[in-house]
């Protein structure tokens, strides 16, 4: 055995918080897929990762509210436990080269006070919505914001649950409808959909700040809420969405970088 091999039975000496993006095709990876990917990348990069004790030890990676399967994200977070302290910068580099290009390590800091999850009070989502000619995304959003509550049923582990999407939405901004094929952050669509794909007349882009609740309100729920308030079928379809940011909300209802104030090390 090589002497410089990490010793997995050693206790956690250092905790890091890491922000990463999942982009492009990787938006279809589930949280479990991403978790497996990181576990392998950590081994491949030979990081001094701490392992849990017990029969089947697994690397200490604690996940904070992963973006749902099918959505992209620029703001995913994970806490990593290491057996020795390591320069956060070098982790970003070593881990980054062991991960596929569509998963980018954006920021690594030494863990700060408290639990990182407690700082994640809201998310900003960018959602691309197909919009038929006779409909107005602005009107739909206004109707949603005007409502007292908008209840959407959601399938959870314990059956169908009603969630109030209106309550979760802190703000919604509409970008003008574009005629061109949409771009979800990180994924550059080189060409329009192939032949045979029904031509969508246009697209609108929503920027929605969603408060963290249980169960979590997802981009699809926002679209279903728009469907509820307008009756338009087209809001029910699958959306392309990307999480732009996650973090605490300030007094003005604005999202704040959750790692601001912790030892910075942007890559």
């Amino acid at each position: 055995m090589a002497d410089d091999r990490p010793n997995p039975s050693a206790p956690t000496a250092c905790k890091l918080w890491l922000r990463y993006a999942k982009r492009g095709k990787l938006r279809f990876a589930s949280h479990r897929d991403i978790a497996r990917l990181f576990e392998r990348a950590v081994r491949k990069a030979e990081l001094p990762i701490a392992y849990s004790q017990g029969f089947s030890p697994h690397p200490k990676l604690s996940w904070i509210g992963a973006a749902p399967t099918g959505t992209a994200s620029e703001a995913e977070y994970v806490e990593i436990g290491l057996t020795e302290s390591v320069e956060p910068d070098s982790i970003a580099e070593r881990l980054g080269s062991a991960l596929p290009g569509d998963v980018a390590v954006l920021q690594v800091v030494t863990a700060g006070e408290g639990a990182l999850a407690d700082r994640m009070l809201a998310s900003r989502w960018r959602i691309t919505v197909p919009v038929p000619d006779d409909a107005s995304l602005e009107d739909a959003v206004a109707a949603l914001l005007d409502a007292e509550e908008v209840i959407v049923p959601r399938r959870t582990k314990s059956g169908l649950k009603d969630i109030d999407v209106r309550h979760a939405c802190v703000s919604i901004k509409v970008e003008p409808v574009s005629e061109s094929f949409p771009q979800v952050s990180g994924h550059v669509a080189k060409q329009p959909p192939g032949e045979g794909v029904p031509k969508a007349p246009g697209y609108g882009i929503l920027e929605v700040v969603v408060r963290q609740m249980t169960p979590t309100v997802r981009p699809d729920d926002v679209l279903r809420a728009l469907h509820v308030v307008t009756g338009h079928e087209w809001f029910g379809g699958p959306a392309k969405a990307s999480r732009i940011a996650q973090g605490p909300l300030d007094d003005a209802g604005q999202l704040v970088d959750p790692l601001v104030g912790d030892r910075m090390s942007s890559t």
Binding site: M1, K25, A29, D33, R40, V42, R43
Partner: protein, 637 residues
């Protein structure tokens, strides 16, 4: 002509299907090349779901070998589930590769690896989605050459209408040879290429052969070449000196969960134990071992590259490697304290096998051990040439329990030639004895034994190729009696688990395994009625296979039973007689007679050659150690 990605169109469909991640590729180790910078392009298919197909070693090896050639491009494609198939048809999205999402129809060659015949309907789905005519005779120069490989290619007659060619035996050198032919002679067109393929002597081009039938009996009269380029006998290829072929060097690591969450290293190929039911053992002779050094390097490189946590040391019977004891010890030493798991899929019933398992689980968990006696009675074990006495088995299993293993799995087959109810019921007796001895050896009651039973399917190129397949009703009745017998003794029975499948899928597998060209119409009829994913019980329809079977075979005066439950005569022409696995047909017949006489056959690795025919006819020889060499130290990074 450049080919563009279908991904933008596919991307619109993926949010609507289950587990979309299986269609995006992006595996670690995947290769994407520029289309225009290559001259020969292969699409490689494993005709099952991604989670099953991705770990397939054969496809992984050929993928890497082909992509190492600078002007060759190889991409992979797998079967899409019906939910995506429907959307692809609706939106005009063709069968695609997962690497660069290119349309399969645009490639020069489509190589399909069949581990089991139950993938045949999935082949048709893929061809149809790719826009490739189902029948080889309807294709033109714009379509890929469709090449079958894998074990099922040793009797490709049931899919003769659908494939342009079949490659027999090991694929490493074959794909390189076919690539060279396509590179140099592409311009000559499809027919000329196939003639050049056929002229190699290792590639079977079904439409260069005529199959004739006896009008009265419905039996095959012969399969003979209809042109000069096609040899009378097509022989298999054998890759020698595995150390020269250390593939996969970069095992593919999927994003999606797959059936094997580990990397595999093939420690040897071939097997001469001579189990008479085992097609793999018969068609992959002789034994060719990889050296300890070669294995050590592959394990080290593979782990470093992949980040996998577990390595499987693969082969048909891994404990039989001549230096397996040293290998296990040296690997265990090397990876001690690293959370790296080592596994050896071996089912040999002896104490040595437990020593190996102990070594490989030094600091890990001792959960379960698997042994494969295959037959319940000593008599039937002689018939199948799986020589192990009941005492040996009990001694072995007791030792396992005594050394801390809590769970023992025993594999059996049901429906074997000459089998009676009594042979099968003895499985229960064996399991009870295992529990009795195990409780005593372990000094505790919470040990378990699971008996797992598969239906026997007679396969081409084995001594059982002449055997009558057992009727599924008889198999099911025997298993039912066995279950009653297991449960008869409550106190022992509750420590015994029983796993089995009903016998019906086995009968269809039998039809497809030993069928001739007339079975092609059955496959097509089943597929046209929606048959897909026949290896998955939630999709498999026995009723549909039997109905389509009777309808499609009736005009030929034969039926499903003709191909399955009918015993063949010594002088009968078999549909694969012109396909040479090296085994001497007379030797196989003698071995079949020995089986009926309950005579056993030794292993040529430890006793003199018994003239099965393979080595002289294929120009091969046994390649095995011990070499006495050891694992090289791993290079620190």
């Amino acid at each position: 002509m450049s080919v563009s990605s279908v991904y933008p169109a596919l991307e619109e469909l993926l949010p609507r299907v289950s587990k979309p991640v299986q269609y995006i590729g992006s595996e670690l180790g995947a290769t994407v090349k520029e289309w225009d910078s290559t001259t020969v392009r292969w699409a490689l298919m494993y005709p099952d779901a991604y989670e099953v197909g991705l770990p397939n070693q054969g496809v992984m090896i050929l993928y890497e070998i082909l992509n190492e050639i600078p002007d060759v491009l190889a991409e992979r494609t797998y079967s899409v589930w019906p939910d995506l198939e429907e959307l692809m048809r609706e939106h005009g999205v063709p069968q695609f590769t997962v690497d660069a999402h290119r349309p399969v129809g645009a490639f020069d060659l489509l190589g399909v690896s069949f581990a089991t015949e139950l993938g045949y309907t999935n082949l048709l789905t893929a061809l149809d989605l790719a826009g490739i005519p189902l029948h080889a005779e309807d294709r033109d120069d714009s379509h890929p050459l469709v090449i079958a490989g894998g074990h099922a290619a040793f009797n490709p007659e049931p899919i003769a209408d659908f494939v342009d060619a079949a490659v027999l035996g090991d694929g490493e050198e074959a794909v390189i040879e076919l690539t060279a032919i396509v590179r140099d002679h592409k311009h000559e067109g499809r027919e000329a290429l196939l003639e050049r393929f056929a002229a190699t002597g290792n590639v079977y081009v079904p439409r260069f052969y005529e199959a004739g039938y006896d009008q009265e009996t419905g039996r095959l009269a012969g399969t003979t070449p209809n042109r000069a380029a096609a040899p009378e006998q097509v022989s298999k290829r054998t890759t020698m000196d595995l150390d020269q072929w250390p593939y996969p060097r970069k095992p593919l690591v999927p994003l999606a969960e797959s059936v094997h969450e580990r990397m595999s290293v093939e420690i040897f190929r071939g097997c001469t134990r001579g189990c008479r039911f085992c097609q793999a053992g018969m068609i992959t002779r002789p034994v060719r071992e990889r050296s300890l050094q070669g294995i050590g390097e592959m394990v080290d490189n593979g782990l470093k590259h992949s980040g996998f946590e577990e390595v499987g040391l693969l082969s048909l019977s891994s404990a039989d490697h001549s230096e397996i004891g040293d290998l296990a010890k040296q690997l265990a030493d090397r990876y001690e304290g690293t959370n790296t798991g080592l596994s050896l899929p071996s089912t040999r019933v002896d104490a040595f096998n437990i020593d190996l398992a102990n070594e490989l689980t030094r600091n890990g968990r001792r959960s379960g051990l698997t042994f494969a006696p295959e037959g319940g009675s000593e008599r039937i074990r002689k018939v199948i040439n799986k020589t192990v006495s009941e005492e040996d088995l009990i001694r072995t299993v007791s030792a396992a329990y005594a050394q801390g293993w809590r769970q023992v799995k025993l594999y059996f087959m049901c429906g074997l030639p000459t089998e009676t109810d009594e042979d099968v019921l003895q499985i229960a007796e064996m399991a009870r004895n295992v529990i009795r001895a195990g409780r005593e050896a372990a000094g505790r009651k919470d040990i378990r034994c699971t008996i797992s039973i598969g239906g026997f399917v007679p396969k081409p190129h084995t001594p059982f190729q002449w055997a009558a397949q057992c009727d599924p009703d008889i198999v099911d009745a025997r298993l039912k009696k066995l279950r009653t017998e297991v449960n008869a003794d409550r106190s022992l029975g509750r420590s015994i688990g029983m796993r089995y499948h009903d016998g019906k899928p086995s009968l269809i597998e039998g039809l497809l395994s030993r069928g001739d060209r007339r079975v092609g119409a059955v496959i097509e009829a089943v597929w046209r009625e929606g048959g897909r994913f026949d290896g998955w019980h939630e999709y498999f329809s026995y009723e549909r296979w039997m109905r389509c079977g009777d309808e499609a075979l009736r005009p030929h005066g034969v039926d499903v039973a003709f191909f399955t439950t009918r015993e063949r005569a010594e002088d009968e022409v078999l549909p694969w007689d012109h396909l040479d696995s090296g085994l001497d047909k007379q030797w196989l017949w003698d071995d079949w007679c020995d089986a009926l006489d309950e005579q056993e056959q030794d292993d040529c690795r430890w006793t003199p050659c018994f003239d099965c025919g393979v080595c002289p006819s294929m120009g091969t020889e046994i390649e095995m150690g011990p070499t006495g060499r050891t694992l090289l130290p791993i290079t620190p990074v």
